[in-house]
């Protein structure tokens, strides 16, 4: 919790708030986080995305102060953070299971951090009220946390963290315990809350759809290392590695041999400026269309394939294709009458993105 005077001037958005410098973390023999560096800008919504075991929660806990880095440092606004205990850091956490204090009611829970920092009584009451307003839980002010639903508890946890006006809010998979509908709703709420409050959010999740929907930037973690840090659109359109391309959204991975400016994928070829080598390309299913559809993509690459399966999902359908050379591809097209047999397909060269392994 901040012991800095509340009048510290907020950074203009975009300025670096938190720096993770070459941090690594080992638990015994296990290297959970390999040396990584990351910057979080003031006011941004950054998501740590990854599978379980990728190290995203560990990184969060390092920033919160519940673990110490094995190597490296964490800095915030010119102050070194990793040597401070959690209760001295201007960072607050929303825990996965909310961790609301069962022996205190909702208001007392929210006021907890304010009491800990010796805020004057009248100010506490006012700020607790504001926090309750912000998460729309005013009528639950004296409620017993155990009697609240998951979504309500989560809002209380949010309020409890935000009332302390931290510079950075850490959220550890806060929506994973909610059912699907509630989850979608809370995603909207979280996003608008973050806009409203203007605090930087560091959000941890394994759900890539959630990450894409909420984030200003996504930091994709795999086995303790950062695969890519970019905006959702950037990561989707230009994934750096095959893993990223497959983890976020769906894709076709094409293996090709580049020779004299042409990438040969077996089923088709296209011009590609690169050294003679073997390469991997990511091609999103929605980039492939039927040759007979208009408009045609720019720089088209044509190929023929047989439709093996057609999976309907409302507005679009997914076609599983087998090319003349026996390669399997997936194409997502606008729904139409059921198709079968062999057809011509086309995609733009620009949609074939070269990725690392």
């Amino acid at each position: 919790m901040t012991t800095a005077p509340p009048t510290a001037a907020p950074l203009p958005s975009g300025a670096t708030l938190l720096e993770v410098r070459a941090v690594s973390k080992q638990f015994g023999a296990r290297q959970v986080l390999k040396t990584l560096s990351l910057e979080i800008a003031a006011g941004e919504f950054l998501t740590l995305l990854g599978e379980s075991g990728s190290g995203k929660t560990t990184l969060l806990r390092l920033i919160a102060g519940f673990e110490q880095p094995t190597a490296g440092e964490i800095w915030m606004r010119g102050t070194r953070l990793d040597i401070l205990p959690p209760y001295k850091r201007p960072v607050n956490t929303v825990f996965q299971q909310y961790a609301l204090f069962p022996h205190l009611n909702v208001s007392e829970n929210i006021a907890y951090g304010l009491h800990a920092s010796n805020t004057p009584k009248n100010e506490i009451a006012a700020r607790v009220n504001d926090a309750l307003d912000m998460v729309r839980m005013q009528e639950f002010a004296a409620a017993d946390p155990a009697r609240l639903s998951g979504g309500q508890q989560q809002r209380v946890a949010l309020a409890r963290a935000l009332v302390n006006r931290p510079e950075l809010l850490l959220l550890d998979e806060p929506l994973s315990a909610l059912d699907a509908n509630l989850r979608k709703e809370m995603q909207f709420e979280l996003k608008s809350l973050q806009r409203e409050v203007g605090i930087a959010f560091l959000f941890v999740t394994h759900d890539q759809e959630e990450a894409m929907a909420l984030s200003d930037r996504i930091a994709l973690l795999r086995d303790g290392a950062l695969e890519q840090v970019a905006s959702p659109r950037e990561i989707y359109a230009r994934p750096a590695t095959a893993y990223n391309a497959q983890f976020i959204g769906q894709t076709n991975l094409l293996r090709a041999i580049i020779r004299e400016g042409v990438a040969d994928c077996g089923s088709f070829q296209f011009p590609y400026a690169g050294k003679d080598a073997s390469a991997l390309f990511s091609l999103r299913p929605e980039a492939i269309t039927l040759a007979e559809d208009t408009p045609q993509p720019a720089d088209p690459v044509r190929f023929s394939a047989t439709i093996r399966q057609q999976i309907y999902s409302g507005a679009t359908e997914l076609l599983e294709l087998e090319t003349t050379t026996g390669a399997f591809l997936r194409a997502r097209i606008a729904s139409r009458k059921p198709l079968s047999g062999s057809h011509d397909f086309v995609f733009s060269v620009r949609d074939a993105i070269a990725v690392r392994e």
Binding site: M1, F101, A116, A146
Partner: protein, 257 residues
Amino acid sequence: MFAHSFWTVHDGLIIHHWNLSNYATLFQNPLYVQVLFRTVRMAAAVTILSVLLGYPLAYFLSFRAGPRKELLYQLVIVPLWISYLVRGYAWKTILGSDGVLNGFLQYLHITHGPVSALLYSPFAVVLMLTHIYTPFVFLPIYASLEHIPRPLIEASQDLGASPRQTFFRVILPLSIPGLLAGATFAFVLSLGDFLAPLLVGGPSGTMIANLVQSLFGAAYDWPLGAAISVFILIVTLALLAITQRIEMRWSKRWSLE
């Protein structure tokens, strides 16, 4: 037993004549009253000391002991299974005039002669009972401390509370049920204990249960003994009921999983 307490003794025979005279004796006889108060004081002392010893131990094991926690827990439990008599006897040998403690003190030249006041005194009884009941007090406190979800501690620190604040505002309140259970246990059992005074109490360390026991023995007044027993029973049950009520009210404000 209840019935017996209302009867009287007459010429060495038990007469089934219902009255409350036994209860009157209990409360009016100055000797009995004195012993009663002394017993209560001693039981209170045992309870307080056991808690002072047991709570920090439980806290240490639960929060600071790390991987050795399980082993240390077993070590605390083991003495519970050692015979009461054995432990009482041990204290007897330690505190006596030519006991181990005196020998030790003289060996170190801290004292130059046996200190006889150690044994056969209320002090010895309190000491022995504290020794017996500290593990009993430890158990429920440890259980309730272990029950506190660790994320709550992290949340408290995350919100800015120092470890000290976290203890007083989160850990202690949530450990009250265990604390209450352990303290009640120690108090109730100390109140009704008669063996310790017989072993190490001497005449000045008699407790109320000793009165009962002698009334059933040499002093032969079963009805009076029964009356006192009933009294002890009622006090015990009342205490249990009260602490249970407090415990329920306390944890009705919240529920831990």
